[in-house]
């Protein structure tokens, strides 16, 4: 697959050759208009061109070939260095989406990102770009890194040429490089301090990060999105604690710049939810998944025409699976909205029933849902040697996370059994319960301690929080069951009814009787 010709098309799909130097008229006009809009800082027009024009031209002319080479279009944009970097960024993104990139192309794309980020970090960029594009850059950067790690780990069918290239370009998509770029963007943009300051004045959030005083939004917003990028990379590495730390400056209980781009909003909550699930903070995970799934349910119709629609649907499905997992490990009654709940029951109702049993079938379902919904974990290190025998190790990272997750599930195996009994009794002696559960008393004590330990998580501030919907305490040999009653919100109920009654009375007053 690798060849010295940089512009080789994907595995033998096209009959006619692709000429990288052929620039159709629509492309000429596209790049010159785009160039002009960027110079004039017409953010709205740039956004339209990225989202709509680029897609329709791709659909018409470049369905399975790359766009014209950057050298070919450069004359139409005054050979502007920065524009060429931006064009190449879109060029590679198109390539990854429609074709299979070769190793050389992957390496070149990394070099392009390096050049682009260097320019931004040196503070010489004076553009105003749409948030969608800036998010796409960071998102694609992380995606290509993930894709490269997966690609590199599949050693088995690599040609000698590819292995030589890999050995030679060991800096390309190096994990240190990727992480340091993301961190540099966060640092140089001072975004953390800006967000701190924002709390008083909301200046940054109010304008969605755009700079209406003649400056540039690029560094600041790239810095902002890089925090989400770092959240994502750390999830891919399996470091959930640090992943959440990087997200901390962003307040996900409020709308913010992250909600200005639907792709970013979903990526943020998906990774936040997954990380909290792995940290065993199930209630937090359920709460956030519920919010985003409700949001998607209400707004997805508005994104049907968007190029991100398919991704949106996929993430939606994955989050339902994660919600099913969270609720199976930590049943909650009042945290899930009715519309989300009914969707959940449609998709996973039966599987959730089966997960409550502690048999092999249940494990199979936990495995299935986790594997479907988890991120594509990576092995960040280069292979220590490229000598025979070459094996594929791209699944290693995923297997480890799955194993750890199922291990946790196994430890919680007996808890659903305890819960069933606790629901039925208000108090029961240890001896009796041990008898019903067919275990001896000391074993029962350990099961009860496990229940307490697993249902009481440690939150980010180190405090103990109870997640248990059913709880108990033991007095020597007696168990007393405590059902956590959901707070009956009488106040809210009365307020709603008062308003409703007033509405009915007003309607009646309007009826004129003959």
């Amino acid at each position: 697959m690798a060849s010295s010709n940089e512009y080789e098309e994907g595995p033998g799909e096209r009959e006619s050759g692709y000429d990288p130097n052929m620039v159709p008229d629509s492309v000429k006009s596209f790049v010159s208009h785009m160039y002009r809009h960027i110079r004039d800082k017409n953010v709205y027009e740039i956004h339209q061109m990225c989202e709509t024009s680029f897609q329709s031209i791709s659909e018409r002319l470049f369905k399975d070939t790359p766009w014209p080479s950057v050298e070919a279009i450069a004359p139409y944009v005054d050979n502007d260095h920065v524009f060429c970097l931006l064009y190449r960024e879109m060029w590679f993104r198109h390539l990854y989406a429609r074709l299979s990139p070769t190793l050389k192309q992957r390496i070149d794309s990394y070099d392009n990102y390096c050049s682009l980020f260097q320019v931004v970090l040196h503070g010489v960029v004076n553009m105003q770009l749409p948030n969608q594009w800036l998010w796409d850059m960071v998102d694609e950067f992380v995606y290509q890194f993930q894709s490269f790690c997966q690609f590199r780990a599949k050693l088995k069918n690599k040609t000698e040429e590819e292995i030589a290239l890999l050995r030679q370009h060991d800096k390309a998509w190096n994990v240190y490089g990727v992480l340091n770029f993301l961190q540099a963007l966060v640092e140089k943009s001072c975004i953390i301090q800006i967000l701190e300051h924002d709390k008083d004045g909301l200046e940054f959030t109010e304008t969605d990060g755009y700079d209406f005083s003649g400056g540039s939004n690029v560094l600041k917003v790239l810095g902002y999105f890089s925090m989400v990028g770092l959240l994502r990379v750390h999830c891919l590495l399996g470091d959930y604690h640090t992943a959440l730390k990087w997200l901390q400056p962003i307040d996900i209980t409020q709308p913010g710049v992250y909600t200005s781009v639907i792709g970013c909003h979903i990526a943020t909550i998906y990774h936040y939810g997954f990380a909290t699930l792995m940290l065993r903070r199930y209630v937090d995970a359920v709460r956030e998944f519920n919010k985003i799934l409700l949001y998607i349910f209400k707004t997805k119709q508005y994104h049907q025409k968007s190029p991100q629609y398919e991704q949106l649907l996929k993430k939606n499905e994955q989050m339902y699976a994660l919600l099913a997992l969270s609720l199976s490990l930590c049943p909650q009654t009042k945290l899930v909205d009715e519309s989300v709940n009914s969707q959940l029951r449609d998709k996973y109702g039966e599987k959730m029933m089966r997960m409550l049993r502690s048999d092999d079938e249940a494990f199979g379902i936990y495995d299935e849902l986790f594997s479907y919904a988890c991120p594509k974990f990576i092995t960040p290190s280069a292979p220590p040697t490229f000598e025979e025998p070459l094996v594929n190790y791209n699944q290693d990272a995923y297997r480890l996370q799955l194993k750890m997750f199922l291990y946790e599930v196994k430890q919680q195996q007996l808890l659903s059994g305890v819960r069933t009994f606790l629901k039925v009794y208000s108090s029961i002696s240890l001896a009796k319960l041990a008898n019903y559960m067919e275990v001896d008393e000391p074993t029962l004590r350990t099961i009860l301690l496990t229940y307490k330990h697993k249902t009481h998580s440690v939150d980010s501030d180190g405090r103990i929080i109870s997640n248990a919907d059913i709880d108990f305490f033991i007095n020597n040999d007696m168990i007393y069951v405590v059902e956590s009653k959901p707070a009956k919100r009488y106040g809210d109920f009365f307020l709603r009814q008062i308003a409703k009654l007033e509405g009915v009375i007003n309607d009646m007053d309007r009826v004129k009787l003959e």
Partner: protein, 228 residues
């Protein structure tokens, strides 16, 4: 590794924490992080952030992994229970490393603690003295976790259950209980010798703060026109 003088020790741990916060993706800080682990062991301190940072660097450059240090990190994480730190560390350690004897033993110990099986834990710990005795404060940390778990679950706990959980009996158990009586408010029942554990919201449901009923003033304000 133990540094007697206070200030250089403080200074170096301050610097390492700073490194982790400011420059975490830098292979050159690896030796500092390794030294810091040893420092945590001898000075009975703990830093999850620094240890995760080191485990990440080992993930980036597996040839530099020092399994001896990793084992120490895991023991410190065990001592941090009930936090899930042990799992957080395991997420970053490759499977084939976890298969080594010392790690298998630590995983078994963690399993017993996660499932409240203190008797099996102390038996297994006795078989692995060489790993555990290298880390001062281990026994006390686990005993603290045991007390914590019992406090979540029991209003009154039989003496035998407590004895098993903290691996003490006779005179040393009496001393332990005495210490808890003065420091944590434990009470020993005259008859039967059960220990009454201090009240908290987890073993005394009536103490649970009910936050559900508060109605904000703005909501009431909305119906003032109707009421007026």
């Amino acid at each position: 590794m133990g540094v007697e003088i206070q200030s250089p020790q403080e200074q170096s741990s301050y610097t390492v924490e700073q490194l982790v916060a400011v420059n975490p993706f830098n292979p050159e800080i690896l030796p500092d992080l390794e030294n810091y682990v040893n420092e945590q062991v001898t000075s009975q301190t703990y830093s999850l952030e620094a240890n995760l940072c080191l485990l990440r660097l080992y993930q980036f450059e597996p040839e530099r992994m020092n399994t001896h240090i990793v084992a120490r990190i895991l023991v410190k994480a065990l001592m941090a229970m009930p936090t899930p730190d042990f799992s957080l560390c395991l997420y970053l350690i490759p499977e084939r490393v976890q298969m080594e004897e010392q790690f298998k033993a630590l995983i078994v110990l963690s399993h017993y603690l996660e499932t409240g099986r203190f008797q099996q834990f102390w038996d297994e710990a006795a078989k692995n003295r060489h790993i555990l005795e290298a880390v001062p404060g281990f026994e006390q940390a686990i005993q603290a976790y045991a007390s914590h778990l019992l406090s979540l679950s029991y209003q009154k706990v039989p003496r035998s259950v407590l004895a098993e959980a903290v691996n003490m009996d006779g005179a040393s158990l009496d001393k332990f209980i005495e210490h808890q009586v003065t420091s944590s408010g434990w009470i020993v029942e005259k008859e039967g010798g059960s220990i009454v554990l201090p009240q908290n919201e987890f073993n005394h449901p009536e103490l649970k703060k009910n936050t559900g009923e508060n109605v904000p003033l703005e909501h009431i304000a909305r119906i003032f026109p109707i009421l007026g």
